[in-house]
Structure formats: C-alpha cells, structure tokens
Amino acid sequence: MAIEARNVTKRFGDFVALDDVSIEVESGSLTALLGPSGSGKSTLLRVIAGLERADAGDVFISGKEATALAPQKRGVGFVFQHYAPFKHMTVWDNVAFGLSIRKRPKAEIAKRVGELLELVQLAGLGKRYPSQLSGGQRQRMALARALAPEPEVLLLDEPFGALDARVRVELREWLLRLHHEMHVTTIFVTHDQEEALELADSIVVMNRGRVEQIAPPRELYDLPANEFVMSFVGPVNKLGDAWVRPHDIELGHEPNGSTREAQIERVVRLGFETRVDLVRDDGERLHVQLTRDEADELELDSGDIVYVRTRRERVF
C-alpha cells in the first residue's frame, strides 16, 4: 500500500471533520476522494500531507509510519486548490524551489526544471511570473513544482475546481495521460462525480466526515452501498422505497401490465441526450434520460400522456 490512513479522527472545535476514517491507496493508482463540501475530503488529504495533525489514528506512507512526521519529511507533493504559487518568483524558480532548497547541483536543477516545464507544456514561459499565466497554466506550474522533488505520492486538492469548464475537460485528459506516464501514486479531491468517474481507478465517497464506500467507478455506479452514494454518484429518482437512474426508465405510448401513467412537463434536448421531466398519476416527479433517437421515435411533447416502466431499480 502506498498510503494508508487508519481510524483517523480530526475535530475543529465542535465540528468533527473526520470521524474514524480508514482508507488504503494502492501504489501507482489514481484515487479520488469524492464528497460534498464539508464531507472531510480536503481535511483527509491535508492529514495525509501532514498539514493537519490528526487527533487520533495513524497515517502510513509507503509502508512507513508517518503520523507524527512533519510535512517536509513525508515525500509528498501537494497541489493546492488555488495553486499557492510563489508570487514573487518566476515560473522557473517556482518549479526549482524544491530542488534548490535541497542544494542540488545547478546543472541538475536546470535539467530537471527544463524537463518538467516541457512535460507540463510550459517550456518557454519559465521567465514569467505566476500572475502572467492563465488559470490552467498556473495549475500545471503548481503540478510541475510538486513533481520536481520526485515525491512518492502526489496529492491534489480540487485540482480543477477553479477552472472554467472547457479548460477543466482538457486538463483532465492531460492529467490522466501524465499519470499513465509517471505512475506516481495520486490522490485527488473533488466534489464532481463525473470527474471522479472519468479519472479514478478507485473512488472513496465521503460524507459528514465518514467513508461511505470505496470502490472502482463502475462498481460504485452500479452497486452503490447506500442511499447517499446512490444519490451522490449520478442523478437519481426516488419512487417510494426504490431508487432509479434516469436512464433506467422506459417510456411508451401504450400501457401494459407493469407501466404507470404519467404526463410530460418538459422536454429538453441536449445534443445526443434528451431529458424528459414527468409527473406520475400519483403526483411523483420523474426525470428520464433518453437518447435523441429514442426520443424522436416517440415524438414526445409537453402535455402528452405516456406510460412509464422502470428497467432497473435499487432498494436499500
């Protein structure tokens, strides 16, 4: 195991940020800590980095006990949500910082910084200051800076949170490629389930300071452990005791034994996907996802009466 947290508890005054949390992260993996704000995911990351001291529990990094170790000695690279660039230093000096304080020879530093800037596509921008970079560039600079001392573990706090949607998608793909090249054990914090599902090998879902489930993306989506995970990882409808994903609902114009009647409130076409909002005869509201072809075939319009059947549902 590259990283292990055992029964970690952390309080801030009366607020319990982490409540007996245990996770294991496999060496070389890309793990997401997923949860709503205030769920404790960033605190867990900071405890692993040594930026917060746990009130109880232990942390192991690469098999070594690290609970009481200062952040300087943990061999951890950390990328902050707002990147924490050293504003008074150039991009080059930012990236070189971790090496120059280790008094590495000048030539070695120059070589490594050059390689890293190449890797994060900032070659040629070394003389700029962080304030002269775009958000995405600043993020890549922070990543290069964290990677420079060759950490055993890379920790990213909401790495895409402060970027606009298009840059975010680009950087996601880029990070995934980078991870495949470097194989540094990586944990990232996110509140975006799509980001977690797309990037991670393994997802830790957190809520109110506790771990709700740890699973690979597919398992998490198909076999959520409880109602919280079901509702947080992807959109969901609640019908009585049952939980149904919007794409697990079929619509038809003719009733059969297992269908329920519903009226269409709204049809939204989003390219490939069509979303239909319905009200059932018992007043329950439903959101349905169809492909464009399915929707076109049915010729749906608001006000129409349709018949609803659920393909797959879960009861907890």
Partner: protein
C-alpha cells in the same frame, strides 16, 4: 471642473500654509547669512555629539523594532494564543499614549525610587540620564510601525504559500527567508522608514529620561530646544535643518518604495 480645481487649489494652499511654509522658513533662516554660520553652528562639539547620539539610538532601535515587529506580526496573524487580543491592542499603545507619559513611566520604573532603579544601580547599570534610557524611550514610541505595516500583508498572503514550501521540503526558517520575507518586503521597508522617522524625531519621552546634558545625553531634537532657549537662533535653525533633511531623506525613500509596493500589489492575482 471648477469644483475640482477649487478642491485641488484649496488642498495645495492648506499644505503650503501648514507644512511647507514653516519648514521652508527654517531652511531660509538657517542659510540667511550664508553657508558659514550654518556650518559653524552644526560643527561644534555639542551639535555633532547630539547628531551622533540620535543616529546611534536610531541604528539600534530600528533593527530591534524591525525584528520584533516581524515576529510580533507573525504571532498575531499565524498563531492563536490566549491574550492575543491584548497583544494586538498593546502594540497600538505607543500611538495612543503621549510620549511624555511614556517618559514618566520609564522614570517611575528606572528612577532612584523606581521598581528596577535601585537594583540596577546596585549592579552599576545606569538607565536614566544615560544611553539605555534614551534607547528604551525611543524604542517604546517607535514600536508599532513595523507591526502595523506587516500585519495586513501577512493576513492577505495567507498561509498557503508557506504550506506549499513545507510540502516541498523547506524548513520553517527557509520558508520564512525565501517565501514570507519576500512577500512582505515592501510593507516591511515602509514600516522601517516610518520607524526611522519616528526615532529621529522623538522628543517628549526622551526629554524626560535623558536629562538633556549637552555633549553627553542630548539628542538632536533636544539640542534644537536647548539652543532655542539659549537664544542661539542660528544653532537652533541649523540643527532643525539637519533634522528636517534627515526626515526628507526618509520621505524620499518612502515615496520611492510606495509606488513599487502598489505595482507589486496589482500584479498579485
């Protein structure tokens, strides 16, 4: 348009009347009879000694209050400790308190009947009417400036850069030297300039504790006052010019620093 012009002319006239005229008059009176009387007035033994004493006190008080100011600022911003509010308020005390009261307080502490006075004089240490007393008084009145300049900037830069340095392997002192200090350098320089100006100009507190013995414990401000009281107007004006020149020099340094600080502030994102 005319309203704006009235405001501009009005404020300029006010400045001229209140600030420029008196200071200009001093320069004019000092050089009224040419360079020679001026030079004679400031090159006599007592004047030179007073200038030297003032500079010596300033050169010790400013570094001490700079180091203390940075440490105190870090303590106020970065740590939570009981009595923090009290420390924060205490730092402003020298601003609020009249320097004369400071002098009296030192007198009560270190005087012959004071708390520490008898014990110290028993060990052969003289505080009042000597260099240590002048230094203490000057340090007291010039204490808040560095703290007050540094604290808001420390608050603004936050701790993320320092945390980032820590995860990159930097120890506390390396982080301070390479991250924190460069981030606060302009406000620190500004605080140092203000502290220096205050040290050079201090009169009230020093007047009480120094005794003002010519050629021994007389600072430059006290030399001005003594010359004036002895009807040595040329001497008084000449020493005043010296003080004003030092003040103007620090002001020039200050204005040189200020725009750079603003540029630096705008660049941050």
């Amino acid at each position: 348009m005319t309203g704006r012009r009235v405001i501009r002319l009005g404020s300029l006239a006010y400045l001229a009347l209140i600030l420029v005229a008196p200071v200009g008059l001093i320069f004019w009176r000092a050089f009224e009879h040419g360079w020679h009387p001026f030079w004679a007035a400031i090159s006599n033994h007592d004047a030179v000694h007073a200038l030297k004493l003032t500079l010596e006190v300033t050169l010790v008080a400013v570094p001490l209050n700079t180091v203390f100011g940075v440490l105190c600022g870090l303590a106020i911003v970065r740590h939570r400790f009981p009595g923090m509010g009290l420390v924060n308020a205490l730092v402003d005390l020298p601003m609020a308190l009249s320097p004369v009261v400071v002098g009296m307080a030192l007198y009560l502490l270190y005087g012959r009947q004071g708390w520490f006075g008898p014990w110290l004089s028993g060990h052969g240490v003289r505080v009042l009417f000597a260099y240590p007393g002048i230094l203490l008084a000057t340090m007291f009145v010039s204490l808040p400036f560095v703290v007050r300049e540094v604290v808001p900037v420390l608050r603004e830069i936050g701790i993320e850069q320092e945390e980032a340095a820590a995860t990159l392997g930097a120890r506390a002192f390396t982080t301070f030297r390479r991250i924190t200090l460069p981030a606060i350098r302009w406000s620190l320089a500004y605080g140092v300039v203000l502290t220096t100006a205050r040290c050079l100009g201090e009169f009230g507190a020093v007047a009480i504790v120094s005794g003002g013995i010519a050629g021994r414990t007389q600072t430059l401000t006290q030399y001005v006052q003594a010359s004036y009281e002895n009807f040595d107007q040329t001497g008084a004006y000449a020493a005043s010019v010296l003080l004003a020149a030092l003040a103007i020099l620090t002001l020039i340094l200050m204005t040189k620093l200020k725009p750079r600080e603003e540029v630096h502030g705008n660049r941050g994102a």
